[in-house]
Amino acid sequence: MLCEECGKSQATVHIERIINGRKTTMHLCRECAQRSGFLTLGVLFQPSFSINNLLSAFLGSQMEALPSLGPGTEGPRCPVCGMSYRDFARAGRLGCSRCYEVFEDRLEPLLRRIHGSDRHVGKAPAATGEGAQIRRELEELKKQLARAVSDEAYEKAAELRDRIKQFEAKLRGNPE
């Protein structure tokens, strides 16, 4: 297969990306893959290529896309560790757990690009786990309720309303 970018060299790097929930595959030669900044999974075979390079490749293109900030305007800093987003882009490491909250707007798209998702569905600490579980179920029930109402399935909607009330009561008895 020939490279989709230059059409000359053999495509040896196959990049799978999830864009708006749809999976697309690009076939590139090593040079074009490197040049286009799509240094993703396929290239990790190269001994010199580490996950941190991968991250800085992501961050690099993200930083370029940022409007240039004047000197001294590094944006908000994390109140716990003092890091700015720019510090993070430089270091490839966040400063503390609070950074995730402070830089949420920019981290979420980054997480989506790295993982194809920004929603954790795995294990939760027992202390927060139960509440989180109930909240997730509650969200789901509310969605179902909206659907039932728009379908004019009033009997089902009444049933759902009761269950939502039960869950909300449970949540009050189970504060964060």
């Binding site: 196959h14 799978e16 999974l41 396929g42 990790l44 075979f45 001994p47 010199s48 290529f49 580490s50 996950i51 941190n52 991968l54 991250l55 716990v80 560790c81 890091m83 270091a91 490839g92 490491r93 966040l94 400063g95 503390c96 757990s97 609070r98 995730y100 909250e101 981290l107 980054l110 997480l111 790295i114 993982h115 194809g116 998702s117 920004d118 929603r119 954790h120 569905v121 795995g122 294990k123 939760a124 600490p125 027992a126 202390a127 927060t128 989180a132 909240r135």
Partner: protein, 362 residues
């Protein structure tokens, strides 16, 4: 660490037969070992790269306290806790060679710590890239079992520590590439037949295409050494731990079945060539007076193939795996408790391997 504990720790370092490399477990004749690693951090405490020495010591103290409460019962066996600054640089390097800490953890040891189960199957690095990095090792393809133990220990540690956790993003880590589950699962596989048949790159490209990463025996840059490859997950967010592990296990099973398919063909059509290779390796390893670690690893792979085929009476996969440990440069120096030149190491290494094989009667 003093007295009895210090002695035990020294014995662990000098031990060349780790239970997690004993050839047991599912598909143990191809899958060397399975590893599950969880990254965890404390809420609102700067990540280790920003921690001052004093604060790092506080984190260390807090983790050790909690681990002490989790105790032998929680870990499934007796444990040792130590600050890395109490360990000699050579001992740290031996821990790296034995896959018990990362190379990164062994540099600049202030504020860093290690919790280690005596049998080496559970380790926690404290203040590596994250406040806690818990790893569980198992022989063979045993990711489920490793995950159950890791998650259980994680639950118990959580009772004493305020983990950094966000309802949407999950466990928060120093590097966003680990966020979510914080789970990195990996399996080490021995693929000599695929290598001989020149099919390694085809198989590994396929592995890559499904979003998994391949590294070598001693991490990045050691791909193909001893025909050993480590296959691990890349994505840590948006999938459950179970999905991550099932996905990885499935792919590893496919790789293993490809390897076995080629082995069978090799054995059927080129039996004499395979035997020749195995017994030449045995001859060299049991007679050489000088051997580099590179040569030893190459021969190790051939010898292991022999053990996998039960070709050498009395020699088990576990016996062969020990040669891997015996060949490491720092391990050799540890056994002789002295600094050695490369030349001296090659001589001592050959000695160690020779004695090891003759003690097994081959």
């Amino acid at each position: 660490m003093k007295g009895k504990k210090a002695d035990i720790f020294q014995n662990i370092l000098r031990n060349s037969s780790s239970p997690w490399m004993d050839g047991s477990g599912n598909l143990g004749n191809v899958a060397i070992s399975s590893r599950v690693r969880l990254a965890r951090n404390l809420e609102d405490v700067p990540f280790p790269h920003l921690l001052s020495g004093k604060d790092a010591d506080l984190v260390l103290k807090k983790v050790f306290q909690t681990v002490g409460r989790v105790g032998e019962r929680g870990f499934g066996g007796p444990i040792i806790q130590t600050s890395l600054s109490d360990i000699s640089p050579l001992d740290c390097q031996v821990l790296v060679e034995k896959h018990l800490i990362s190379p990164q953890h062994a540099v600049s040891k202030t504020g860093k710590g290690l919790v280690l189960r005596y049998d080496e199957s559970v380790a926690i690095m404290v203040n590596e890239e994250d406040h806690l990095r818990l790893q569980v090792l198992r022989s063979g393809l045993e990711l489920d079992e490793a995950w159950v133990l890791a998650s259980g220990i994680d639950d118990l540690c959580e009772q004493g520590l305020d983990y950094a956790y966000d309802e949407q993003i999950g466990y928060l880590t120093s590097c966003p590439t680990n966020a979510g589950t914080g789970l990195r699962a990996s399996v080490m596989v021995h693929l000599p037949a695929l290598a001989v048949a020149n099919e390694i790159s085809r198989v590994l490209t396929a592995v890559n295409k499904v979003g998994l990463v391949v590294r070598g025996l001693y991490g990045e840059g050691t791909e193909g050494q001893g025909n050993v490859f480590q296959i691990s997950n890349q994505i840590t967010l948006g999938q459950t731990e179970k999905e991550i592990i099932e996905n990885l296990s499935l792919v590893v099973k496919q790789v293993v079945s490809e390897e076995i398919r080629v082995r069978e063909t090799l054995f059927k059509n080129h039996r004499i060539e395979v035997e020749d290779r195995v017994f030449r390796a045995l001859g060299l390893l049991s007679n050489a007076r000088k051997i580099t670690s590179d040569e030893a690893i190459k021969l190790w792979s051939d010898l292991r193939l022999g053990a996998e085929f039960h070709m050498i009476p009395g020699l088990t996969i576990s016996d062969v795996n020990e040669i891997l440990v015996l060949s490491r440069p720092n391990y050799v120096q540890k056994v002789f408790e002295t600094t050695l030149t490369a030349q001296e190491r090659d001589i001592r290494r050959a000695d160690l391997i020779r004695k090891h094989l003759s003690s097994k009667g081959v």
